[in-house]
Symmetry: D2
């Protein structure tokens, strides 16, 4: 079980909505909706996905990384390395 188990339903709910938003953007483009309105929707769904990612990262640091830190050793170091790489990808995406 992973850190996000307690947030699972909320994460899935938010992702289903994001999926619907991406479908909605497709419809806007099919219906030749004005560019700025489409761009506004894309920024909204990007922000929603960032919120999902930040929630998952929070859970991961508080559970998986924290547990490994208490055990110590190479497992802890690898968990921290992975977490920092994930944070960098998020900051740069």
């Amino acid at each position: 079980m992973h850190g996000y188990v307690d947030d699972k339903d909320a994460l899935l709910k938010r992702l289903r909505r994001a999926e619907g938003q991406v479908r909605g953007i497709q419809r806007m483009i099919e219906e030749d909706t004005y560019c700025i309105d489409v761009l506004t929707q894309i920024s909204a769904v990007t922000k929603a996905l960032e919120t999902v990612a930040l929630t998952m990262l929070d859970d991961h640091l508080s559970h998986c990384v924290a547990e490994a830190t208490r055990e110590g050793g190479p497992v802890a170091e690898e968990k921290l390395r992975e977490a920092n790489a994930a944070i960098a990808r998020l900051v740069r995406s």
Copy 2:
């Protein structure tokens, strides 16, 4: 007709893929996939949506804003104001 008409098929194709990626992320969470792997997928779909947004912005500036600029007057100013607001949202999302 809007600036993105020539890129419509490519944009729709990329958005369908992004929709599938968001669905895939839901499946990963339902199947208790390791947090870092889910985070990697979220960064990937966020980056894909940014690419769609940058393509649309490029088309918008090159067509809608350019046309309004040639006509001049308040329409052109409004188009530039809108475009700059959309760019700011993208930079900050």
Copy 3:
């Protein structure tokens, strides 16, 4: 003369402040200030630099790109290409 000529003083004022903020971050590190407080300052100066960039981009689109667009031809295309590349760098930095 470039698009930002009217905003020159405000841009220079904001950049002098950003320079001071970066110097302040150095002092915080030299004085072993708590990491989170240093990170808060780094986010603040990054945001300030983004604001300077968005102002310059706004001026550039409204003047340099708009002028070239009215003239039309390859100069206009190059100006749009450059502007879109600058926007992409901003979105991805």
Copy 4:
């Protein structure tokens, strides 16, 4: 002493360079340099500051947060809360 003590010299060196880059951007504006060239420099210094922030965050998670986690209790929770808030600021700046 904080987590970044081992990276102090490298961080200070990078920040001095960033300070010089911000001064350089001021000179570019004073000398009416072309907007796109100024924007390129702003993206470069923003990226450099992000790298400094990611290094500090890495050190903070590996030392300050890890130590608190081993001790457990409310101190650990507060450290994680702070770290997650700093990550969110970085992602959104």
